[in-house]
């Protein structure tokens, strides 16, 4: 079985995003980018399935700007076998929406003969959380979202899902789309020897047009705003003063 893992290049989780002065979006100039953490978990899970002998090949795919090559190289260094870069944007500020991504992924999955797609449950930049579900619908496959445990046997996947207030275990027939939650695994480090080897692994470059998909956005962003800053506190000298203040604002 081949496992297809989509990976997205996003603003690094350590970075505090800031809005562009014109409010059209988040400023990505001079900002550190890295692999979406949920996708890292997906790559790890796919590699583990390969190590268990469940899968023969792990293919990673990224859709977006050419710089996403670096993200794919990281996935290759972790242990993916080969990578496909679908160039769908030439400016880092150009977004590609979940529907276009899902259409491209559906075409890639068909082309590569994938038997399973493992994707992050959401990307930490746009927080749409929609691509995996759309992809399952487009392919007509089953889906198991927010996975915290995956077991595969006999052409079926038993997936434990993180739901509100507990865990739910479901059984889906393969091929299927599984999206990963935080507790599924702890991704390995890309080691130095593996990074060296990853430089020689195949990375194929395609465009959105190769798959007949128009990546132009359908949504219009009206405004992007930063959260209001918190007003500075004041230090009070006594409990009486505190009670007085609380009375002043009418909470006691």
């Amino acid at each position: 079985m081949k496992i297809l893992v989509p990976v997205k290049r996003v603003i690094d989780y350590n970075v505090k995003p800031r809005v562009k002065p014109d409010g059209s979006g988040v400023d990505l100039a001079d900002v550190k980018m890295s692999m979406n953490p949920f996708d890292e978990i997906a790559v790890e899970e796919a590699i583990r399935l390969k190590e268990q002998g469940v899968a023969e090949e792990v293919i990673v795919v990224s859709i977006g700007v050419r710089q996403a090559q670096e993200t794919l190289r990281t996935a290759l260094a972790m242990g993916a076998d080969r990578a496909i870069l679908v160039v769908a944007a030439d400016d880092v500020h150009q977004t590609t929406e979940p529907l276009a991504i899902a259409k491209i992924l559906a075409a890639v999955a068909a082309e590569q003969g994938a038997g399973l797609v493992i994707a992050g449950k959401q990307a930490i930049d746009s927080d749409m959380g929609a691509t995996g579900q759309m992809l399952a619908a487009l392919l007509g496959w089953g889906q198991a979202t927010f996975a915290s445990k995956i077991a595969i046997a006999g052409g079926r996947a038993t997936v434990t899902r993180e739901v509100d207030g507990g865990l739910q275990t479901i059984d889906v027939a393969l091929p299927a789309v599984i999206t990963t939650d935080l507790r599924l695994n702890e991704p390995r480090y890309a080691s130095l020897p593996n990074i060296m080897k990853a430089k020689k692994k195949p990375l194929e470059e395609k465009t959105a047009a190769d798959y007949g998909v128009d990546p132009a956005p359908r949504l219009e962003i009206l405004a992007t705003r930063e959260p209001q800053g918190r007003a500075a506190g004041v230090r009070l000298a006594s409990v009486d003063e505190l009670v007085g203040k609380l009375k002043e604002i009418g909470v006691v």
Binding site: K16, D30, L192
Partner: protein, 551 residues
């Protein structure tokens, strides 16, 4: 100390192994491949990407870049904001006096220099190096020296996944040994491997102690009407006054971004001094507040700077390798510049190593590199200004401006220094005085608009450290902070650290010393300034530390 010597590691042989993807390391890598494309060159960088740990002013003298890549303009180097306006002010608490440019020694003139983000310059240098076939591995910290007798044979890099007790964790990666015919140490000021090599091989013997400053920097997006692209402002005086040497810089860079920095010389005596708060207070000076008011801060960081100059340059060559840039200490203090010398040191080392390898040598001492630094452009640059810092340290700011200024003027005109060579006194750690001998300093609380508390600032360095690893700030004796430093020096680590790593916590019967290593921005100040010299800054796991944008 880091890691397990008994662990088997893969090893790889290169012609040259370079530790650190800063201006010196990358320049060396580029020059090596320019001379001989067949040389195998690897660069290791502990930052998560090239540039992530680079923090510099910076006004760049393009002398080094001109020598390395003469057509840098055509190759899209991010070196585009020419200095158009150069101002030097003495600050008082409420006002300022401009020192006329005519009084400034010509070597301090910034005409023909550029305001740059060295982080972005290094990112660009890395693409140039990779095009030439240099292998660069960011996120790979070189944590140990591989010795072969008295020769530095290589380094261990990429060890990851140690548990907090130092044993291998579930995702442990042992890393690799990278061996080189020559190993270039280009870690910047107070590098953790450089420190070990300098001590083991006694490279500082016969030289003055290295001196340091702590540089803190913020990037501000100011209101467009306040922005003057290419303007350079330096200040001295308030708020440091007589408490410490130092000063500020304000560079109008690009896209309404102004680079605001503050340097405190680390030889200050008063252990109550709080460099971070001096910087925050500085922004409330009317001249600065007027510029920043209505703007927003987008980034914060800090880094130690070498200030020892000519007298403190250690032996730069040792068996198997060399020290580049600020691993040796090549900042020109009055010019407030070191990047040009860093780049030139990389070029010199590359030329020496390439010639040596071509003639069949390896693993020996590249004495010709040491000679080229001292006898060439770098030496000339540092020698002329060698008295400014020691005069400043001993006689204070005004004397240094006058006497040091005269010395620089004469040196500038005649090539001869009337003062001869003054020497640096004690190390910065030894210069720290007893708490009882100095009055505590009362700092105003940050207002959250122009000035910020330290932890808020740390969030703007985008630093992070895998929390399950061993603490990379090692105490030689864990009792010293509370038993010695607290009573004698009021434990200055609480204040000199610009990232709030060190705390004395009073939550029990006796105070305890807490190290919040996740906050560390890799500035190395603790390793330099701890009066007991009890803190050893070692490298954490690769990829950790700040994620500076265009610093």
């Amino acid at each position: 100390m880091s890691g397990h010597p008994e662990i088997e590691r893969e090893s790889m042989d290169y012609d040259v192994v370079i530790v650190g993807a800063g201006p010196s390391g990358l320049s060396a890598a580029i020059r090596l491949k320019q001379i001989d494309p067949d040389l195998s060159v690897v660069v290791l960088e502990k930052g998560s990407e090239v540039g992530a740990h680079i923090l510099s002013g910076a006004v760049l003298d393009p002398a080094g870049l001109d020598r390395l890549i003469p057509d840098w303009r055509d190759r899209g180097a991010p070196v585009t904001t020419e200095v158009v306006d150069d101002n030097f002010f003495m600050l008082g608490a409420a006002g300022q006096v401009r020192i006329p440019n005519a009084l400034m020694p010509p070597l301090m003139n910034n005409h023909g220099n550029f305001i740059v983000s060295m982080g972005n310059v290094c990112r660009w240098l890395a693409t140039q190096a990779e095009e030439l076939g240099v292998e660069i591995f960011p996120g790979m910290a070189a944590s140990r020296v591989v010795w072969e007798g008295g020769r530095v044979k290589g380094v261990v890099a990429g060890e990851m996944g140690l548990a907090s007790d130092g044993t291998p964790g579930p995702n442990y990666e042992p890393g690799m040994e990278l061996h080189g015919k020559y190993v270039f140490i280009a870690e910047g000021a107070r590098g953790s491997l450089a420190k070990k090599i300098i001590a083991a091989l006694k490279l500082a013997q016969g030289h003055d102690p290295q001196k340091f400053g702590l540089g803190m920097k913020e990037i501000w997006e100011v209101r467009p009407e306040k922005f003057r692209k290419g303007r350079v402002v330096h200040t001295m005086g308030w708020p440091l006054g007589r408490n410490a040497g130092g000063g500020s810089f304000i560079y109008h860079f690009e896209n309404n971004q102004v680079l605001v920095g503050f340097v405190v010389h680390l030889n200050y005596a008063n252990p109550h001094l709080y460099p971070y708060m001096e910087f925050q207070r500085f922004k409330h000076h009317p001249m600065v507040a007027e510029l920043l008011e209505g703007g927003r801060r987008v980034s914060y960081g800090a880094r130690a700077i070498t200030e020892g100059g000519w007298q403190a340059l250690p032996d730069l060559a040792f068996q198997g390798g060399v020290l580049l840039g600020c691993s040796g200490g090549m900042v020109n203090v009055p010019r407030i510049k070191g990047n040009h010398n860093a780049m030139m040191s990389g070029i010199e080392a590359a030329e020496a190593a390439a010639a040596a390898i071509a003639s069949g040598r390896e693993g020996d001492r590249l004495a010709e590199y040491d000679a080229a630094v001292r006898g060439g452009a770098i030496g000339a640059d540092l020698r002329a200004v060698r008295n400014v810092k020691p005069v400043w340290s001993r006689l204070g700011l005004v004397a240094s401006l006058m006497l040091g200024g005269i010395d620089m003027w004469v040196a500038n005109l005649t090539g001869w220094n009337p003062l001869g060579t003054w020497h640096h006194g004690k190390s910065d750690a030894a210069a720290t005085g007893k708490a009882a001998d100095f009055a505590p300093i009362d700092y105003p609380r940050p207002d959250g608009r122009l000035s910020f508390d330290r932890l808020t600032s740390v969030a703007f360095s985008f630093t992070n450290h895998e929390e399950s690893q061993p603490c990379h700030l090692r105490l030689k004796d864990p009792a010293v902070p509370i038993a010695v430093n607290l009573p004698q020096f009021s434990e200055p680590a609480q204040r000199y650290c610009p990232a709030g790593v060190y705390e004395v916590v009073n939550d029990g019967p006796t105070p305890r010393f807490q190290i919040n290593f996740q906050n560390c921005v890799h500035c190395k100040t603790c390793d330099i300034k701890d009066p007991s010299q009890n803190i050893d800054w070692t490298t954490p796991q690769g990829g950790d530390g700040p994620n500076y944008p265009n610093m």
